[in-house]
Amino acid sequence: MSPDTVSIRRSDLRADFDRSFAEPARRYDREHVELLAVRAGDHPYALRLSQAAGLFPDRPVTPLPGPAAALLGVAGFGGGIVPVYDLAALLGHPLPERPRWLVLVGGAPALAFAFHRLDGHLRVPADTIVTETGDAGGSLRGMVPLPGGTRAIVDLPAARAAVHALTGHTDADEER
């Protein structure tokens, strides 16, 4: 083995090693899906980790009086101000108790959803997820059988679309 091949091999290995950290776990493979098992209000749901941009417990949320009942308020994230919506209220079963967990949703404008409990982080084979045919509407897309029962999957982009509709926000607003 020439010194050249060794150095190439070494840099390949280093690149692989670095990449394994740089790449999010959610890209681990195509056969599996990373899910967060959560509880919004009294109901169990699952979220796709790949759709979340961050998960935060006990973040202070400043209540904001206004017309949207599902809007819990605003929270500070890295110097920015992010609206926080109650997932349970958005899905139609609000609880008086304020939710403890926040999940940041990717995309613009900034948006976070709050839910009451985190049951766990799971990796399930992609083919166990039951997808519904056609657009069922709402923010739920598919179901997943998990220990303890089948959970409906909250599609965060769909939930975001629901918030956009709620606030009269259109994509045209974004382009300006």
Partner: protein
């Protein structure tokens, strides 16, 4: 001494040039020996400083500037036109030479960094759209020295506040040693040592608690100071609107000079501080707008004389904050928009459909605003009105704002650009209510009045407060912030803050005032629709959003009579909860909802037995009990609690469907304070009994 000999000269020269530029324009409008003397002083200072750092060209120009002014030291008469031009020319040359001294941003250059986002932003807008006119230089948006001084003062103050913390650490050491000595004494346990040790322990405990208090105070003070520093530092990011007045004034002057007109410029509201980016864009647009006003609005002197107007025209630029928006308004006293010319131009360009009804003035102005029509008879050096408005509209689009035109034939025209404020620096008064904190801009606060409990109760109940002989609408801040949701327990408002906006006033009830602070208000994020009482959000020290109230919104809310109901809630809140005992779920829930919406805290018991257990477990302000219940009935419950010394002081009300005189009699005998009949259930009557019985 640093390796950069020009370091301080640059700062000084920049300030002197600013003062000279503004002064020359003032001289043009209001000649007089005082102003001449001031300009001579600036020029002389600049000349001296330039010589010291071997900037001979600048020194020479400053000297020439002085030469022009010296003959006018004692006269009131205006300078000759060519002398004014020469002053302006020298002014420009000095400005350019001083600007050329700014170093290219080299790594490690030992110069004070300019605040961010101060680059020339307006240039491209103006340059692209109007090739005939040289690109505008952006306003010089930079922090005033006074702001930096304020910031440094605040940092010094915060530093001083750390003193007690440092001495606190020493005190802690000392106490630690005392505790060790005490432990030694206890271990050796000599005869009679126990008493000494006990005294020592007591002393130690007292010292510790005193130290704790001191540390808490110090930490609070440091936090407040840091908050102030943060506000001031953020304020440095913003610049006063008046920084663009000089450039606008100069544009007016040059346009007037080019057209042989006499026009005075006036800038108002220059104290408002804005994001330099916004200011630069608005400045770019307004340079066109004011030039338009001079070129197309202000009539030639002969026409003005014929119309009975003063020979000198006026262009006023006003800057004003309107809640979350800043309004820039240019008003001239010229001839107004030439509506007939707009109509002709629109027709010539095929903008009016043939056979369509004649558009009115409003519609024509809208058409003008949409661009492509210039009312200028010939293309002048100063640009047609249409292009100027295009730029204004363009800026409005970029900033999510709006342009409106106003015109009165023969009297003048108005161009107004309203832009939302991304960042706005305000002095805020920090208010606390029902456990939440909000800030209100100090400039809207007229006064603060301490409220006695009964005044607070009256104000909350009626939604009105007497103040200086007027009845002001009264809102409870807690009611406003919780907007219909249950307000957490708190006492009645202790202070009324009187705010004014739009010529109206409103009193806002708060628990307490928590000082003032400098803060930068940001707009609410998209996807966060809020009630109009919220003007924006500011970040606190922990990076959490804090609501900033909008005075206009509060006045409007009071006018609409909203929140008055909610406002009644906190005033009625009492210290002690009420215990409801009733075997009927419906009655329990009904009574609970009545009491809770009146601001009381409520506990429930489904039987007399449960009621007695709960009554003994917690202090209550009142028992509200049904009579007919399985097991212990209401009469018995009241009788037993009257017999119990711990409970006999708690008033009791009997609520029953029994309405006979005997039952009322029996209720009184067992010691009930009131008797309410369910059939004629009147929640006001019930609440009246409760208010009478439960001390606030």
């Amino acid at each position: 001494m640093s390796g950069d000999p020009l370091r301080y000269f640059r700062i000084e020269a920049r300030e002197l040039v600013d003062q000279i530029s503004a002064g020359v324009l003032d001289l043009d409008q209001q000649p007089g020996p005082d102003l001449v003397a001031r300009l001579l002083r600036f020029a002389h200072t600049l000349k001296g400083a330039a010589r010291v750092v071997k900037q001979q060209e600048i020194a020479d120009r400053a000297h020439e500037f002085e030469e022009v002014l010296i003959p006018h030291r004692t006269e009131d008469a205006p300078l000759a036109t060519d002398q004014m031009r020469e002053l302006l020319r020298l002014n420009d040359e000095i400005e350019a030479r001083v600007a050329a001294l700014e170093p290219a941003p080299a790594p490690g250059a030992d110069v004070p960094a300019p605040p961010p986002a101060t680059g020339p932003v307006a240039g491209p807008v103006a340059g692209q759209l109007e090739p005939g006119v040289p690109p505008e230089t952006a306003p010089p948006p930079r922090a005033a020295t006074a702001d930096v001084d304020d910031l440094l003062d605040a940092i010094g103050e915060a530093h001083a506040r750390f003193g007690p913390l440092r001495t606190g650490a020493h005190a802690l050491d000392r106490l630690h040693r005392t505790a060790e000595n005490l432990a030694d004494q206890l271990r050796s346990a000599r005869a009679g040592g126990a008493d000494t040790a006990r005294l020592g322990a007591l002393r130690l405990a007292a010292d510790l608690s005193a130290l704790g208090r001191r540390l808490t105070d110090s930490v609070e003070q440091v936090e407040r100071e840091l908050d102030e520093i943060r506000g001031r530092a953020e304020r440095l990011r913003l610049v006063a609107a008046s920084t663009v007045f000089t450039a606008l004034h100069r544009a007016v002057r040059d346009a007037a000079d080019g057209q042989g007109k006499r026009v005075r410029f006036e800038g108002r509201g220059g104290d408002l501080r804005l994001d330099p980016h916004v200011l630069a864009l608005v400045n770019g647009a307004f340079l066109h707008v004011v030039r338009n006003a001079v070129a197309h609005g202000i009539e030639p002197a002969a026409d003005r004389a014929a119309a009975g107007k003063p020979a000198e025209g006026t262009v006023v630029v006003e800057v004003e904050r309107r809640g979350r928006f800043a309004a820039f308004r240019c008003t001239d006293d010229g001839r107004g928009f030439d509506v007939a010319a707009i109509r002709r131009a629109a027709r010539a360009r095929g903008r009016l459909a043939p056979g369509a009804p004649e558009p009115d003035e409003r519609a024509l102005l809208d058409l003008l605003l949409r661009g492509g029509i210039s009312t200028s008879a010939g293309v002048t050096e100063v640009s047609g009105r249409g292009i100027g408005l295009d730029v204004a509209r363009d800026v409005a689009d970029q900033l999510d704002g709006a342009v409106t035109l106003g015109s009165e034939a023969g009297r003048g025209a108005t161009v107004e650009l309203v832009v939302p404020l991304a960042l706005l620096s305000v002095q805020g008064l920090v208010l606390e209510a029902a456990g939440t904190v909000a800030t209100v801009p100090l400039d809207a606060v007229r006064t603060c009045v301490r409220l006695l409990p009964d005044q607070a109760a009256t104000a909350a109940a009626t939604g009105r407060m007497a103040h200086e002989g007027r009845a002001l609408p009264f809102l409870s801040l807690a009611g406003v912030l919780y907007a219909g949701a249950a307000v957490p327990d708190s006492g009645p408002p202790g202070v009324a803050v009187v705010l004014a906006a739009d010529g109206e006033a409103v009193a806002v009830g708060v628990d307490r005032l928590a000082g003032t602070s400098t803060l930068v208000v940001r707009p609410l994020p998209k996807l966060a629709p809020a009630a109009p009482v919220i003007g924006g959000v500011a970040m606190d020290l922990d990076g959490n959003p804090r609501l900033v109230l909008d005075a206009q919104g509060l006045v409007a809310a009071a006018r609409n009579g909203r929140h008055v109901q909610a406002g009644a809630v906190p005033a009625a809140v009492e210290r002690l909860p009420i215990l409801i005992i009733d075997d009927s779920l419906t009655t329990r829930m009904l009574e609970r909802s009545i009491l809770e919406s009146a601001g009381y805290q409520v506990d429930l018991a489904a039987s007399g037995e449960e009621g007695l257990t709960k009554a003994r477990a917690r202090r209550y302000g009142l028992f509200l009990t049904d009579i007919d219940m399985p097991g212990i009935d209401g009469f018995t419950f009241v009788a037993r609690t009257r017999a119990d010394p711990a409970l006999s002081g708690v008033p009791a009300i009997l609520v029953s469907s029994r309405s006979s005189a005997e039952d009322r009699q029996r209720g009184a005998e067992v010691g009930a304070d009131a008797y309410v009949v369910k059939g004629e259930f009147d929640q006001e009557e019930l609440l009246a009994h409760i208010r009478r019985l439960v001390p606030s």
